[in-house]
């Protein structure tokens, strides 16, 4: 009996520890993002982040070794948020496929908007093959898979409803690449309110839906 209670206690303690760690992690991310939005990515020091998050500077490195790790965590959190938002939004869930996909990318971009400079800096780094942020790095695979499954689920629904011919898992990969391309365009878009991105996104998705429905005969 006693031993069992001890084990259970150990489990709760460990659970609590994990929970606390996650809390600190989020606090650091929040502090970092706020500083990035205010001072910019390059002008934000680790000292400033740790001070704002209320931890010692040494502790910061226990959580995030580099700014890249911070970025990885940021994107993970964003993905979780977008999936949750999609599940909650009944209007978008009922919409046609092109609108759903539009809404997903747009929601992403809206969330990224305050941290544009940070994303821009991170994006450049992700191009290096050795970077943890590279789409091929093992660290990003778990997140990529979650993203691909999420998109695949939406495409499968549309396939089942006969909205367009089956494209299988390939469709999710293709959309993922398109998503990256749009973020790149968005980062470079200097039009007011980034309306060029909206137009491009809309036109590409309509064209894509059209091609899938009718083939290349246009």
């Amino acid at each position: 009996m006693k031993r069992k209670t001890g084990r259970a206690q150990a489990r709760t303690t460990r659970g609590k520890r994990v929970e606390n760690k996650e809390k600190t992690r989020r606090a650091i991310l929040r502090a970092a993002l706020e500083l990035f939005a205010g001072k910019g990515f390059y002008h934000t020091t680790t000292k400033a982040i740790s001070r704002k998050a209320g931890i010692a500077e040494g502790t910061l490195f226990n959580y995030f070794e580099t700014k890249e790790d911070l970025a990885l965590y940021f994107f993970e959190q964003e993905l979780v948020e977008v999936i949750e938002w999609y599940e909650r939004d009944r209007r978008v869930k009922r919409a046609a496929l092109a609108e759903k996909l539009f809404a997903i990318i747009h929601h992403f971009l809206e969330r990224l908007a305050p941290y544009e400079e940070f994303i821009g800096a991170v994006y450049l780094r992700a191009l290096a093959p050795a970077s943890k942020l590279s789409p091929w790095s093992l660290q990003t695979q778990e997140r990529n898979l979650r993203y691909l499954r999420f998109i695949r689920g939406i495409l499968a629904e549309a396939e089942a409803a006969g909205e367009f011919p089956p494209v299988g898992d390939f469709g999710a990969y293709a959309f993922g690449l398109f998503h990256l391309a749009i973020i790149t365009y968005w980062l470079r878009d200097r039009s007011r309110g980034k309306e060029q991105t909206l137009a491009l996104l809309d036109r590409c998705l309509k064209l894509g839906a059209h091609v899938l429905r009718k083939g290349w005969d246009w």
Partner: protein, 458 residues
Amino acid sequence: MGLVNKNEKSGAVARGYRLGKLGFRLVGSYVGYQAQNLLLGEGERAQRRARFQQKASRRVRDELAALKGPAMKLGQLLSMQTEMLPEEALRELANLQMRAPGMHASLARAQFKSSLGKYPEEMFREFDPEPFAAASLGQVHRAVTRDGEKAAVKIQYPAIRSAIENDFKLLRSATLPGQLSGHVPAALLDEIQRGILEETDYLREADNLEFFGKGLSGLEYVAIPRAHRELTTDRVLTMSYIEGETLSDLLKRKPSQAFRDLLGARLIEMYETQIQRLKALHADHHPGNYLFQPNGSVGLIDFGCVKRISFDVSELRRCYRRRTWRESEASARRFLALAYGRSVPYARARKILPLLEQWCDILYPQDVTADLVIDFRGDPRLESKLKEIRQQHRKRVLQDKLINPEFAFLMRADLGLHYLLRELGATINISEVWRRVSTAPAVGRHGCAFRAPPKAVT
């Protein structure tokens, strides 16, 4: 979504391709037609011309309908101005409206936020994510403001301005042969581009609403939307909602002739007040822009396309009525400069006068003391005679390069009003309306109730 045309061709490349194709085909077949003309007898020519016009109008209609974008309006204006097309096709073109691609609810919301910084549901008490009407360059949504007032919110398709600028670059190349031959003057393209780019600025349209709202306030039956400035940007226009039904819906209920005549006279009075008193004209006489109510009030909406009138329309009318060109060469020169612009040489312009005589004999009786009454139900004999003169006039204008860019928008408006009155089938004492307009107390001119219409966008 219903608004998204399944056959829509997106992207500048596809639009450019279509536009180029259209330009080359039209110019190509026009050149071909002129070349054949040299070799054919008069009878054959007429047949050929009819065939060319039929083919051309079909092409223009199909291609323009597929283009949908700003290029469509451009083609519409161009073909109406150069008057290459037969009456029937012109009528259809007059009814076509420039349509941007439809926006689904998510895009409309996104564009609203991109322009105003917040989502519509954060700024209105109610907002219908589904549009209830297509507008030039965008679409219109129903909404209720925080104060509980019904509103119409016009949202522009994103980045339409740069799309239009691209279309114009393409059109200028596509119509190069026409520009070189002088049949499509560059000034006409400039005028059309100016007009269309103006339509992309909804702040300007808000200014127009204010200007016409005040300017037409003397006509108690006119309803014009009021802009909500705090909810308006250059790409989103929030205005009060105007109730009413379209003309075709109204006609379904078979209104009495007296009611038709009343509405007809009112339409002309509105038109004349604009061109004579305000010196500015709501130039988009699409039937959907008029909303009628059972009590005879007339709502006028969509002030994106406004034409400032720089010449004296009543002077032109006086010339027509009195045939001033007969008096002396000097007055003939004056008249032709007024009608076709100063740049056209007198010797070339003079050739149009015999046709105008015929035209005036029908429309403007010699007896200047008698009232001018027009039955828009149409006397078929007179109609066909008018049609014939119009066609000859068209040919002359094209051959002698008498195209006047100043008239591009005015003619479109004129034609639009004409078809509206025909559909209404009203009989109107035009002289009486003219007298009423010219003796009405000046609004604004003395009281400074309104500013001059806003300057052109360059």
